[in-house]
Symmetry: C2
């Protein structure tokens, strides 16, 4: 048996390994990459995947070293994932060599991004290539990070200001009985929920992370597949994401750091079906699709305006050692309030340039500004 997990301990080793099912000494509920557990199970059922497969982590270690930062040792600051998750193969080398199936929950690589809008911005003189952050061929050099959720339940409950037992009960009751162990195994404090994780793109020298003099430009973007991938013009998601990437490039070129975080929280964590139902209700309303009714339509169908639980998102910035954001590329009042509550300061908040808002997205942006979104135009 493992000793109980010491969340927030000074090292991964003193914290203890995160051991997942089907290990007999597991200390977690759920499995890694939970939203793909169903596919993994079927791959075992069809015989394509051996249930006894042990990953070979040769050469998979992070392409860039990140941390540890003091924030990792504060058990209240990072509760939604394992801050040591990219170092599993290194920190628990001996255990893995001995046959334990310990898995990284974070992966870090480097890469080049080719984005049509960025190439256009160069062409129009709004950005210039510097051969380092932005190459001559208009490709952007980045550090790419993928993070899977690992929830420390006492910390999640404290962050959301709810009782841990009541939260566990809700998780079972409102998921149709998914993971009954949330109730029957209160001794297991870690939960790997089947929700999407986060991707992080770092612009500039990652060695600047955690350095108090580094000027950080950041955008934390919640998934909107229809806009982010397909350019749907009913919202400003992709235009604002691109704007964030541009600002991150500029910040890195000026010797600072750019950070874009992409969270899988489609349609305010209501999902895409719900989002499209709301679109229809908005467009068909007798009064027309007007800003005043924007949030009402979401509430009528979904029962809530938003389920993203923004109190949880600052963890990734703590993990990156960020204490102060020089340029915060976001208008969301929910997000800036969450940063403030997390003790991360914002020097300047930047709204989306007006010319990037399509005619069809005016309803959304006007409604959001009326409800408290940051805007220099007010």
């Amino acid at each position: 048996m493992n000793a109980p997990i010491q969340w927030g301990a000074a090292t991964a080793w003193s914290r203890g390994p995160i051991v997942t099912s089907p290990a007999p000494d597991r200390n977690t509920i759920g499995v890694p990459a939970g939203t793909y557990a169903t596919y993994r199970a079927l791959a075992v059922a069809t015989g394509d995947l051996s249930p006894n497969h042990r990953p070979d982590y040769q050469d998979t270690q992070p392409a860039v070293s990140i941390g540890p930062f003091p924030q990792w040792r504060d058990k209240a600051k990072i509760v939604t994932f394992d801050p040591w998750g990219h170092r599993t193969a290194q920190d628990f080398r001996v255990d893995i060599a001995a046959g334990r199936n310990l898995r990284p929950s974070i992966a870090i690589t480097t890469g080049h991004l080719a984005i049509a809008e960025i190439a256009q911005a160069v062409q129009q003189g709004a950005l210039r290539s510097d051969g380092k952050v932005l190459l001559e061929n208009n490709e952007i050099c980045v550090t790419k990070i993928a993070i899977e959720p690992v929830w420390y339940l006492p910390g999640i409950a404290a962050r959301l200001k709810v009782d841990e037992g009541a939260m566990r009960q809700a998780l079972v009751d409102h998921s149709g009985g998914m993971y009954p162990e949330l109730m029957t195994r209160p001794d297991l404090k870690l939960f790997l929920p089947p929700i999407g994780g986060s991707s992080v793109y770092i612009f500039g020298d990652p060695a600047l992370l955690g350095q108090s003099h580094a000027r950080v430009t950041a955008r934390v973007h919640d998934e909107c597949n229809g806009s982010d991938v397909f350019g749907s013009d009913i919202c400003t998601c992709r235009p604002y994401l691109i704007h964030g990437i541009e600002e991150c490039i500029r910040g890195a070129q000026a010797g600072g750091l750019g950070i874009v975080v992409y969270n899988r929280k489609e349609g305010r964590a209501l999902g895409e079906v719900m989002k499209l139902l709301v679109y229809n209700a908005r467009k068909r309303a007798n009064a027309g699709d007007v800003p005043a009714a924007y949030f009402q339509h979401t509430c009528a169908v979904a029962g809530v305006e938003d389920m993203r639980l923004q109190a949880l998102f600052p963890d990734v910035l703590h993990w990156l050692g960020v204490r102060r954001i020089w340029k915060w590329v976001s208008m969301s009042n929910l997000k800036s309030a969450a940063l403030l509550a997390a003790g991360i300061t914002i020097d300047t908040q930047i709204e989306i340039p007006a010319e990037r808002i399509s005619i069809n997205a005016q309803v959304e942006i006007t409604a959001k500004i009326a409800s408290g979104y940051f805007s220099g135009r007010l």
Copy 2:
């Protein structure tokens, strides 16, 4: 109690309503929008969402009528979602008015897409606006559909050629005990797995769906967030998606139909952490990142080359009434084999134009072609 579900029945009513937890007469395991159930539960725990909320479906009905098509009445053809899922509010109006909490699992709206690469293609003369499919402002008119999974387990097992009981056991065992009812309630034949769903974009007149004379251009694209959103140049995902959209526009402009399906199966359904670990292993290999070792690296880390279960994807084309694809914009041999097995014929298969493959993506595409990918260049 409900009568047992008659999957493949001629109408939603004769099939029976799909009733989800917490209804006492539920006939399903799992909950709608499963990957967001965790957020929904926390929204209840925090008091933001009433557990008794009943959605108001006023004005949410499909913006475009789709089906029914004969394929909906074949219980083997559509097993991964509810073909009547967009009509819940209409087909079960009386039940919902009486207070039953029945939920649509499909939503259909219309929209406009603004995509930088498409605007460039117009500028370069590769595409022309026609004021209907592609507007003067370069925006594309589409029908947008979001589909959540509803698995008919006997049909899934038959499709994958596995025993239903063994499959249920694997689903419990390899998810860390998620939904033990998969074993204890063999009478419940429907499972709403917590996996991402599909988005569909239709170009051209959706009234052509199901018409045998309509020339269909189609691409079925599996999520690759790093490329689709951020333009990562290590693969051809976004370039090929854009190519598919271009072909769909051309097909629709010529009086046919274009269909793009986007499935949430990141990194071949292995997840993004696994994908980035494999990237690192590829780049650091002694022999360099070479096509011959491309699939080996994935197998070494993940234990399997691919977990997407392509046998399941044709359902959405059956649902759209497609029997024959005029232009199939895909090189995947796994996907074309799945279409063949599903009885959908392909007239022409189209590979990605060579000039759209970045230098860094050459390893991947060469490895895939060597392993059986379609290519006119061979």
